[in-house]
């Protein structure tokens, strides 16, 4: 595989060099003939930044058809063009993304569709709902005259709230009152974990270390499991409840959870006593998140009607998406080719966004690509210059969110001020300085 890759790289460089030979005029690179390199590049960088902001049009389209709020979504594990979505009235839809059309509608459950996951081979998918059932469906549309029926149905003892499938094996995990591991062939769970909690909201398999799981529980805790062990591994209790979590697909021991306290927290699985990074910017509870397949960024959906994109180690978001009509965003997914973001919200729409707001879609010619790379590099080079930074960081926000944000900022500021004052006016050393990261974990068991 290595040699092949190298060959591909060589061929691409070869073609571009041919182009270079064909279209370039021989020139003198003597630096004295091309003076003012810094100012010239600075101007170019400034222009590139401005153009980036001008061309930042992230919204690609919306998929409408659901008759209730979208509660959950799932990506097809083998195809980029298929999306599954489940709504609050138990309806499930399969979408063709390039055509932006619904290709199949199933009344899957009574009550909410709580969770969907695609099997690793992409031939079938599982749903769980409020009616205490786990249903397995065929990915292919039934033929003419056939009824839309699940391949198999498992009736559980209690309501299920989430489901996730193993990366390679025929097992899946559900959560509800307990976290259960199921074999696809059996109608009762192979293993069920519980640890003094009666309701879980989310369970996710680690995509890299495939035997590991993590779940969010209603007692404000995040619990880690190993499928091979009889007991859960570890539990972190935080100040407020985490809604969902997601593992980093490229770095096995990192996961991020979206919390009710408007923040997201990235944890290192091995050191749970404090999060590695606290991601703040939302102004309401964060409901869902998904990592980009490259593991460098993640997207979060919030009750404050916005989607934000964070760098995996960035404390603040690099991008915020919103539209006038988008209401509370309940679920969000990052497409498997790292190009798009899908968000499902309360007002029955699924929206398709670009992951890079100003990116040009479609094929780029080699020269376009080169220019793009150059611009990116320039922006990176001059990113610290105030004017550039001002333009690059500017985002529009709707008035109410803007106000909320200001309010929140004031609140946090006053709290911080008070802390400072307390420290200032007490005996040195008697009031410890607590880092922001240390403030959110209550207990590790």
């Amino acid at each position: 595989s290595i040699s092949i890759q190298v060959r591909i790289n060589q061929s691409s460089s070869l073609s571009s060099s041919i182009i270079h030979v064909l279209f370039s005029v021989p020139r003198n690179y003597d630096p004295t003939l091309h003076p003012f390199e810094v100012p010239r590049e600075y101007t170019r960088a400034l222009n590139a930044t401005k153009l980036e902001r001008v061309f930042a049009k992230p919204f690609v389209g919306s998929l409408d058809g659901h008759r209730d709020g979208i509660n959950c979504m799932a990506k097809h594990s083998k195809s980029l063009s298929i999306l599954l979505s489940g709504s609050c009235d138990g309806e499930l839809k399969l979408w063709d993304l390039p055509k932006r059309k619904c290709v199949r509608t199933i009344q899957a459950h009574d009550g909410f569709v709580r969770g969907i996951c695609s099997r690793f081979c992409g031939t079938s998918f599982f749903t769980v709902g409020d009616d205490k059932t786990v249903k397995k469906w065929n990915m292919e549309t039934p033929g003419y005259g056939e009824r839309e029926e699940p391949l198999s149905t498992i009736l559980g003892k209690a309501m299920f709230t989430g489901i996730d499938h193993h990366q390679k094996d025929a097992t899946f995990a559900t959560c509800g009152q307990t976290v259960d591991i199921w074999d696809e062939q059996r109608s009762s769970p192979v293993r069920s974990f519980s640890w003094g909690v009666d309701s879980f909201s989310c369970v996710r398999y680690n995509p890299v270390e495939t035997e590991l799981l993590a779940s969010c529980a209603s007692d404000r805790s995040i619990v880690l499991y190993d499928m091979r062990e009889a007991t859960p591994l570890k539990k972190v209790v935080m100040k407020l409840r985490s809604n969902t979590l997601c593992w980093n697909p490229m770095e096995a021991y990192f996961f991020t959870c979206s919390n009710e306290d408007y923040n997201l927290y990235t944890y290192d699985m091995r050191r749970l006593n404090a999060p590695v990074t606290v991601h703040m910017d939302h102004v309401s509870a964060v409901l869902d998140l998904d990592y980009s397949p490259t593991g460098r960024e993640f997207v979060s959906a919030s009750f404050d009607k916005t989607i934000r994109i964070f760098r995996k180690d960035g404390g603040h978001s690099r991008e915020v998406y919103h539209t006038k009509r988008m209401q509370h965003v309940i679920c969000v997914k990052w497409s498997a080719d790292n190009k798009y973001i899908l968000s499902g919200s309360d007002e029955m729409n699924i929206r398709l966004w670009k992951a890079n707001a100003s990116e040009k879609l479609g094929l780029l010619s080699p020269r376009e690509k080169e220019a793009h790379n150059y611009n990116q590099k320039l922006k990176e080079k001059f990113q610290h210059h105030p004017q550039l930074r001002r333009i690059a960081r500017h985002r529009h926000l709707p008035r109410d969110i803007y106000k909320q944000r200001r309010e929140l900022k004031e609140m946090l500021g006053s709290r911080r001020r008070k802390e400072k004052n307390v420290i200032k006016h007490s005996k040195p050393g008697s009031v410890p300085v607590v880092a922001e990261r240390q403030k959110h974990v209550v207990n590790v068991e």
Binding site: S1, P35, E229, N373, Y402
Partner: protein, 705 residues
């Protein structure tokens, strides 16, 4: 008694058990067994009659009997006493919760160590200059047949025979696949290297053929006079050289002389100039009539005389030949090594270079000697050029070889220079690899950007904000504003004049066709200018301005006296002198102006707000020194200043994704080495691939340095 006991329940029980066994058996032998007639729940299996049913056998009861058995008595007694003394109860087994806690702890430690194996991969990926996703790429184009049809087996005897043959030769079964040897050969050399080497070889061969053609041509020249002149000139030159050598280096001259002597002796022994050859005999016959022939004969005889004399300079042709520099390096003519005849790239090294002068190409040595001497003479000049070229090649080759072997190559100055240049180019990139950026988040507002004008506006109001000192939200800014105190330890302020003010070099390019002016015209102009500015005294004006500026910038004395405060006030009354002195505040003198000693210059030390909008006021995070940052800013990336390839390298994106390719999560099998592989891998090809994948994650593409 035989109820299962956990080991934690103490050794006491067991000991009692063995003791009872030990001491009860002898009892039973002596006593008659009592018969049991009714079913009883409490019957000892050792048929000890439980007389007092429900009562326990006390240790003290047993002791009485033990006195009769002398063996080990004392020891057991002691043990029993110890037992009796111990009154504390046995430990309870752990509760379920605690047991689970321990289990959890153990399991957690195990999984976290397991997960930690990813650490190296994670850091590698973070530091990689470029990551290409998907990390493992499927080969494009048609697949090999064995990938499509797995589990196919050779069934007919013919097939089996063929396969066995192929296998024993390590021959791949399908033609797109290369043999291991071929793969190795592909790896042995990169394409560019091979190209360079091939070009060199081609050039060397061409030179050789030119040389041969030339030699041939000259050999065919029939003019005897030409050859004679040639040889004579050569001989003369040699003599001259020899004399020089005698003067400069007598030792070498002596050696040379010895060699000459040896050659002369050989010549004498060969009986060459004895007038006994065919040619000499014919000359003898012709000599009677032909003057020329007679002359030739004479010469021959003279030569003979010379040779037969003892200490005369012998004929020089052989020495000449020694001196004749090699026209070609031997590798050109060397046969390729037998190891891999099909592949020229497989020759990892050149044939051994013969540096000594004794090796020369014998093929070209003509039987006759005189003509050859003449040839040599003429060749020398052009040969030198070719020679130099060839030698250069050889040197390069040797250099490369030594590099291959890992020796420190001898780097020529030119290369050094280039390297420095390249390093300078690459350095900023290395510096910039730290990905962390000023993580201050977005500046969110109510303004939408629709066009370029909007961005301009944004920039403008930013400028405005810069001009009026509005305290920004971050504490960093405050830190930068106040002088470096103890708490702000890492804040370093860049001198704004150092950033973005790289001095441009003056270009000396003729602008337009130069005018040759007449003296008159020039004088006229000067007079005109003089007339026009007759009343102005520019110099004094400038000095005045400067003085004024200096005065303005001087700190002024502040008078804070309040007349009438604490004493009588009114018209004509002045505050007391004491008061005036007390409330007069003299500011500290400013540091000397920079233009103090420069009479013709005014240096303004005020901060330029218009320029400040474009300057970085605080050292960004990954940098520790302002110089580093400046260097990254000053090195241009664009193709105006760099060649195409360099520019492409400099602007290579960190993450490359393919259009429409699903990026799978990183796979354990490809990146983590399994210490005890559970399955032996069946296919040779497969194992090879996987081992490669383990050594280097294929997603990485590293820049050569």
């Amino acid at each position: 008694m035989n109820a299962p006991l956990s080991c934690s329940e103490g050794k006491g029980y067991l000991m009692v058990h063995t003791l009872v066994n030990f001491h009860i058996f002898p009892l039973s032998h002596r006593k008659k067994l009592t018969e049991r007639s009714e079913a009883s729940t409490q019957v000892s299996e050792f048929s000890v009659n439980a007389e007092g049913e429900g009562e326990k056998v006390k240790l003290s009861d047993l002791l009485g009997k033990m006195e009769k058995t002398p063996k080990n008595l004392n020891k057991t007694k002691k043990q029993l006493k110890d037992l009796e003394k111990k009154s504390d109860t046995l430990e309870l087994p752990l509760s379920r919760q605690e047991k689970e806690k321990i289990q959890r702890e153990v399991a957690y430690v195990k999984t976290s160590t397991e997960v930690s194996r990813w650490e190296s991969v994670v850091t590698q990926n973070r530091n990689a200059e470029q990551l290409v996703f998907p990390l493992i790429q499927e080969p494009s184009g048609p697949k090999r047949i064995e990938q499509v049809v797995s589990g196919w087996k050779a069934q007919t005897p013919l097939e089996q025979e063929i396969f066995s043959l192929l296998h024993c030769n390590l021959q791949p079964t399908h033609d797109p696949v290369l043999t291991p040897v071929e793969e190795a050969s592909l790896k042995a050399m990169s394409l560019e290297e091979a190209k360079i080497r091939r070009a060199e070889l081609q050039k060397a061969r061409a030179l050789q053929s030119y040389y041969e053609a030339k030699a041939k041509r000259e050999r065919k020249i029939k003019s005897k006079k030409y050859h004679k002149v040639q040889s004579k000139a050569k001989r003369k030159e040699f003599l001259k050289k020899f004399e020089d050598l005698c003067k400069t280096d007598p030792q070498a001259a002596l050696e040379e002389f010895k060699k000459m002597e040896l050659l002369r002796m050989e010549e004498r022994m060969s009986l060459k100039h004895q007038n006994s050859g065919k040619w000499a005999k014919s000359k003898v016959i012709m000599g009677k009539y032909d003057l020329v022939a007679r002359k030739a004969m004479q010469e021959q005889l003279e030569m003979n005389k010379d040779l037969t004399q003892k200490l005369v300079v012998p004929s020089e042709d052989e020495e000449q030949e020694q001196e004749e520099p090699k026209a070609l390096p031997d590798f050109v003519n060397d046969p390729e090594p037998v190891g891999d005849p099909a592949n020229p790239w497989m020759r990892g090294q050149l044939s051994a270079e013969a540096l000594g002068p004794e090796v020369s190409h014998e093929v070209e040595r003509p039987t006759e000697q005189f003509p050859e001497r003449k040839e040599e003479e003429e060749e020398e000049e052009p040969e030198n050029e070719e020679e130099a070229l060839l030698r250069e090649f050889e040197q390069k080759r040797r250099l490369r070889q030594s590099e291959d072997k890992g020796f420190e190559p001898v780097v020529s100055e030119e290369q050094e220079e280039f390297k420095n240049l390249f390093n300078r180019l690459v350095e900023p990139v290395i510096l910039e690899t730290g990905e962390e950026q000023g993580d201050e988040g977005l500046e969110e507002g109510l303004v939408r950007i629709h066009s370029l004008d909007d961005t301009e506006l944004l920039a403008n109001d930013h400028e405005a904000s810069l001009v009026e000192p509005v305290p920004s939200d971050t504490s960093n800014m405050e830190a930068s504003a106040c002088p470096p105190s103890k708490n702000s330890k890492k804040v370093k302020v860049i001198d704004p004049s150092e950033v973005l003010t790289k001095q441009a070099k003056v270009i000396k390019v003729p602008h337009a066709p130069m005018m040759v002016e007449d003296e008159e015209v020039r004088n006229e102009q000067t007079t005109i200018i003089k007339e026009a500015f007759a009343g102005d005294d520019v110099v004094s004006d400038f000095l005045k301005d400067k003085r004024k500026l200096e005065e303005d910038s001087m700190p002024k004395v502040v008078d804070l006296t309040l007349p009438g405060w604490g004493e009588w006030g009114g018209v004509g009354l002045k505050p007391s002198r004491f008061k005036r002195r007390k409330f007069r505040i003299k500011p500290a003198p400013l540091p000397p102006r920079k233009d103090q000693k420069l009479p013709a210059v005014i240096i303004s030390e005020k901060r330029n707000a218009a320029l400040a909008a474009h300057q970085v006021c605080q050292l960004p995070f990954p940098f520790t020194k302002p110089e580093q940052f400046e260097r990254t800013i000053c090195s241009p990336v664009g193709n105006t200043w760099n060649t195409h390839n360099v520019m492409r390298k400099l602007t290579a994106p960190k993450v490359v994704t393919q259009m429409g390719a699903i990026i799978e999560p990183i796979a354990k099998d490809d990146f983590i080495k399994d210490k005890n592989p559970s399955k032996p891998q069946p296919n040779l090809q497969l194992t090879k691939d996987s081992s490669l994948a383990k050594t280097a994650p294929p997603g990485h593409k590293r820049r050569k340095k």
